[in-house]
Symmetry: C2
Subunit: 366 residues, 2 copies
Amino acid sequence: MRLQTLLGIELPIIQAPMAGVQGSALAIAVCNAGGLGSLPCAMLSLEAMRAELVSICAGTKRPYNVNFFCHTQHAPDAAREAAWQRLLAPYYAEFGVDQAAISAGPGRLPFSAEAAEVLEAFKPAVVSFHFGLPSSELLARVRSWGSKIVASATTVPEARWLEAQGVDAVIAQGLEAGGHRGMFLSDDLATQVGTFALLPQVVQAVRVPVIAAGGIADAKGVAAALALGAAGVQVGTAYLLCPEASTSAVHRAALQRQPATETALTKLFTGRPARGIVNRIMRELGPLHAATPAFPLATAAIAPLRKAAESLGQDGFSPLWAGQNTSGCKAVSAAALTRALMGLPTQAYIPIGTTAPSMASTTPVM
Amino acid sequence: MRLQTLLGIELPIIQAPMAGVQGSALAIAVCNAGGLGSLPCAMLSLEAMRAELVSICAGTKRPYNVNFFCHTQHAPDAAREAAWQRLLAPYYAEFGVDQAAISAGPGRLPFSAEAAEVLEAFKPAVVSFHFGLPSSELLARVRSWGSKIVASATTVPEARWLEAQGVDAVIAQGLEAGGHRGMFLSDDLATQVGTFALLPQVVQAVRVPVIAAGGIADAKGVAAALALGAAGVQVGTAYLLCPEASTSAVHRAALQRQPATETALTKLFTGRPARGIVNRIMRELGPLHAATPAFPLATAAIAPLRKAAESLGQDGFSPLWAGQNTSGCKAVSAAALTRALMGLPTQAYIPIGTTAPSMASTTPVM
């Protein structure tokens, strides 16, 4: 079945869920342009998630996607987190951060029965998962109300595993992709490959539609992904400068910096490898420092540094999530970008510097 | 100008030069099938190079490519190499290798006036370079007899630099590619990106034709690269099982191993990052061990271990060069593979296990 038929969308374009840099506003804009907008829930409280879902339903009548992480929540390890804070101590001193005030918040929550409870009232057309899938019980519950299930694979074995669990489509997440690697069967980064290598091998390995992700930034990229056998694409980075995204000022500036943006996989911000623009802490500690606590426990200790640095206009402690191809980042409306990805005529472009429309508020958990 | 017109070839397919695993036989077969066959010279003595060029001229009347490395040759560092040998000592003991017998051979030689002298008699249609370009004097000499100049870029700045030096075409070498990263303006691996990210950005940055490399393994991959703006493709890994390649038995076995091949960038075999299938020494020392001597001086100390292990049928100390997409590796004739990459009808396929045709001898320098 065509991906568009399966998901009830006009264009085979999925806006990648990007926790922390977008909420309902971006999702609504993409849905109304004919793509599949996504609401990332990993950093939302249940209340914030409900509010965002209400906003989406008010903003569009089209199908939308709701995305969850489904990692195993690690218990805090006091010794490891203390060691992590000792490593960060010189930075705390530099920015005058009071270590005693660091919260022990979880940073990111996995999909849960409570989240399913909230979700059931909305019965979204699509629910997507990152880091594998939730328990079969929870998965069956989501499926019971008719949502299509989509999940990320970073290797051929992960794609086969997801298909065996009955997902409706697989996202092949190439190494170029920004944000967290969805890897879940192995934590060996040597298993992670570029879109040109991953996509055709996943297409060959499974029967469900395959959605290409990683490095796709414009209509040529979409055409190339389709040539490699993708049924559709998931695009994230290119949307980061859209006024409907809530991308921070330092993050927007980093994305537009010349010369071309340099990214790396880093664990420093959350504990799991995720791709972001190389900044001060990644350069100084090394992006994969062994002392980083388990996901998502690394976040709490670094959050106050981010806040302090950003208040000075510095991006050195912020997760500047981005894929390797930032050439598609333009400060245009999400609708215009979505249509442009298909090579379709676009509505009027909103020039850089225009005030963003008001955004539905998103309350991060941390 | 179309790449085919520029290089005088029928198909926009360049067989990637792969030092150590192929010689004139593979180049001839690809040329006669309508692609551009390549002779890698980095591991050939001047005499062996001349003999191979004579073979090519006898085997085909079509244009061919001769490839050179152009690194700066580092002076041996006795302390560093001694430390490297100490690290390898347990392996020497295990395989009964006499450390006193380790040669100090350079492993791989850069392009030189002497090599140009040999080359001039043949005036190949195309000369390609890896690790930047030779001196402007040497480059002018190659250009003076009419050869087109092609070189590898792994970043947008490298592509711009090559264009400014007057190359006729640029190879955009995505991170998926097997063998040595051609990087030369930076040694920071964080600058290295996948083909989906690199190719369109290079196409945008330069006016000369761009040849895509990295992860391209079949006709769909070629179509995708062309959709991203490439004028042609360079394919290496897919040719490794062809009978005309001199790929070793352990290397062929590793390429066909299930589950899907896992690769990593490693410095262990030469001193520069190159992509190969993960094997014992990469796993045990870590693929980028800091003690590795400068390129190409790491080679000498590991060569006897490779020899000893291979004699026992083990692949643990061999450079098993391969890109991330090994799905195109088939034991078919290079002509059949070349035609198949363009989606053209192929000649009879040579089934796996058939004896390879006799190969022109290649005498490695080391």
